[in-house]
């Protein structure tokens, strides 16, 4: 196990390095001159002199490698640079955003799991029953509904027609419900589909027949053996969904004006405030990479049969 974790950590360093280069390269594909954008954002006069002075100050005249490593050096110390718009620290802005995004993301993940775990298992156990058919229909429709569509429809039916929730989310529990639901519903639909097929796969294996012929109670078979053996796959499914969740939160936060990092990144894109965009993308990628690492390790803790000498 120690060898596996060591190998994964080495891989992690490489991936983080590549991620940082790609993120920094985003700045390069942006059309236009960063100094000009900065001056425009601040409403300062733009002429050859001020532009040149600003370029010098921002270090734009240095070669790519020098700029990249000075940026990377800052990033390693937790300094993501300063915003073009007001010179405040990007890390500070992201920290503030995260304090809104994390509760939203975690609560939607919790809701999705709380609904999909029992439904997915029940649908698999009572295969082809009425319950299974209903759950599957829900899951097919949920998979085909983009999250922005769910959010728009929820707003229309629950806020405007029924006046149950605020349209623009404030930081109260009531404000959290709709954004969390909009994120949870498509996730839930995917989870149910995957959990169901995972449990079915286990139920069809011959060791289950063996247990049944020996007279082991069906409850024990399902909650003991089947659940235990399908949990590694379920953890992977949930871990991978965090990436979709992050992308979804950008869309949903903008619809509900939820002041998290998703709204921050869109506001910065609109304002062409690239240091903030870079910072958010980097933070999200790093978080995602670490979550994948943790899922991988958990997978092997639960299912030690996997040969981690060769794989991973």
């Amino acid at each position: 196990m120690g060898k596996f974790i060591g190998k994964r950590l080495l891989q992690l360093i490489f991936v983080l390095f590549a991620v940082s280069i790609m993120t920094f390269a985003l700045m390069y594909i942006a059309p236009g001159d960063p100094a000009e954008r900065k001056l425009t954002l601040r409403g300062e006069p733009i002429n050859a002199e001020t532009l040149e002075a600003e370029r010098e100050k921002m270090g734009l005249n240095e070669p790519f490698a020098v700029r990249y490593f000075s940026w990377l050096g800052g990033v390693c110390k937790g300094d993501l640079g300063t915003s073009y718009a007001d010179d405040t620290s990007v890390a500070g802005k992201i920290g503030k955003g995260l304090s809104y995004t994390l509760p939203l993301a975690l609560s939607s993940l919790a809701v999705a799991l709380a609904i999909s775990l029992p439904l997915g298992i029940l649908a698999a156990v009572y295969r082809n029953s009425v319950l299974d058919v209903i759950v599957q229909i829900f899951s097919f429709i949920g998979c085909a509904l983009p999250n922005f569509l769910i959010a728009t429809l929820l707003i229309y039916f629950l806020c405007i027609k029924q006046n149950l929730f605020p349209v623009i989310a404030d930081n109260s529990f009531q404000g959290l419900v709709l954004p969390a639901l909009s994120l949870a519903i498509p996730m839930c639909a995917r989870f149910i589909k995957q959990f169901r097929s995972e449990v079915i796969e286990q139920l069809d294996k011959s060791y289950i027949t063996g247990l049944r012929t020996r007279g082991v109670k069906e409850n024990k078979v399902v909650f003991g053996n089947v659940l235990h053996n399908s949990s590694p796959a379920m953890i992977t499914i949930a871990g991978l969904s965090i990436g979709t969740l992050m992308g979804g939160s950008v869309v949903i936060e903008n619809i509900f004006r939820w002041p998290g990092i998703g709204k921050l990144v869109m506001d910065s894109i609109t304002a062409r405030d690239y240091p903030v965009v870079l910072g958010v993308v980097l933070v999200m990628a790093v978080v995602y990479v670490f979550i994948n690492l943790v899922t991988d390790i958990l997978y092997r803790v639960i299912d030690p049969r996997i040969d981690y000498g060769k794989q991973g």
Partner: protein, 284 residues
């Protein structure tokens, strides 16, 4: 709690039922394609003509799905949007499918340093949440449909590249490939004439399951204003434009939403049917 009823083993997917499903959903998908191609001929009104006299009209005989806040016919716009939404995702899936497969094929066949570099690049690309990277790239490049497709395409090819690489890797040591090599057949010919046709089916099945997801991604970018440029008709941007007037013109939101739901459902079912077909074929 009452114990679970014992269930007998489920039937394996039967060839016949999968075939029926495949035929039904291929036909429905084809119908959608035909509708979106002939849309300009069957639109009752000009989808781009604004008309102050018909602003925010409810659904009626003249405008089946009503008009939006600029007086444009929602039904005509939904039809016009079908082409943008469906063909942009088909195009993107096709390009990433062929591009990714060829890259994976070359990597798997030659191995070595090119393979190592390309696989590390895919590792790095997969480290980003796909939609987040797409939003950032499309946002930085500036919002239009081409940039949105580039932004999603940056990561979407990796799926096919990895699959094709794995399949090629396991196939290149089979006897018939060795025989071809001994006969002096060129590497290019072996790769594209012999290996590719053999790994084509599972790759195509994967591509078919991705059509619906790609549509969701593209419309998501358009919804954020990073996809098509207004006034171009596209379902995601139509929903975004009409969202602000949802109290006054709910039909302008509902009509493209339903069109989108139905289209994605059909393509998802179609993709599942193609995937099941490949599985059933392999078992036969």
């Amino acid at each position: 709690m009452k114990g679970f009823k014992r269930r007998t083993k489920a039937k394996k997917l039967s060839y016949k039922s999968v075939k029926i499903r495949l035929i039904i959903f291929s036909a429905l998908a084809a119908a959608l394609l035909v509708i979106s191609i002939i849309a300009p001929l069957i639109e009752p009104n000009d989808p781009y003509a604004t008309n102050a006299a018909h602003m925010r009209q409810g659904p009626g005989p003249e405008f089946i799905f009503g008009t939006d806040s600029l007086g444009r016919c929602v039904y005509s716009r939904v039809l016009a949007g079908a082409f943008t939404s469906i063909f942009s995702s088909l195009f993107l899936v096709a390009v990433s499918f062929f591009g990714g497969s060829i890259i994976g094929l070359i990597c798997g066949f030659y191995g070595g340093i090119v393979d190592a570099i390309l696989m590390r690049i895919t590792d790095a690309l997969l480290a980003f949440p796909q939609m987040v990277l797409a939003i950032a790239v499309a946002g930085v490049l500036g919002g239009n449909l081409t940039n949105a497709l580039i932004a999603i395409g940056i990561t979407s090819w990796t799926l096919y590249a990895r699959l094709a690489r794995g399949q090629t890797y396991s196939m290149k040591n089979e006897t018939f490939i060795q025989a071809l090599k001994l006969n002096g057949v060129s590497n290019g010919r072996i790769m594209f004439g012999h290996i590719f046709p053999n790994i084509f089916r599972p790759l195509l099945a994967t591509a078919c399951t991705q059509i619906g997801t790609t549509m969701i991604y593209i419309s998501g970018l358009s919804f954020l204003g990073l996809g098509v440029t207004p006034p171009m008709a596209e379902w995601g941007s139509m929903i975004n434009e009409a969202r602000g007037y949802i109290q006054l013109t709910p039909w302008a939101v509902i009509a493209p939403s339903i069109a989108m739901l139905i289209t994605i459902l059909i393509f998802n079912f179609f993709g599942d049917a193609v995937r099941d077909m490949t599985e059933v074929r392999n078992e036969r």
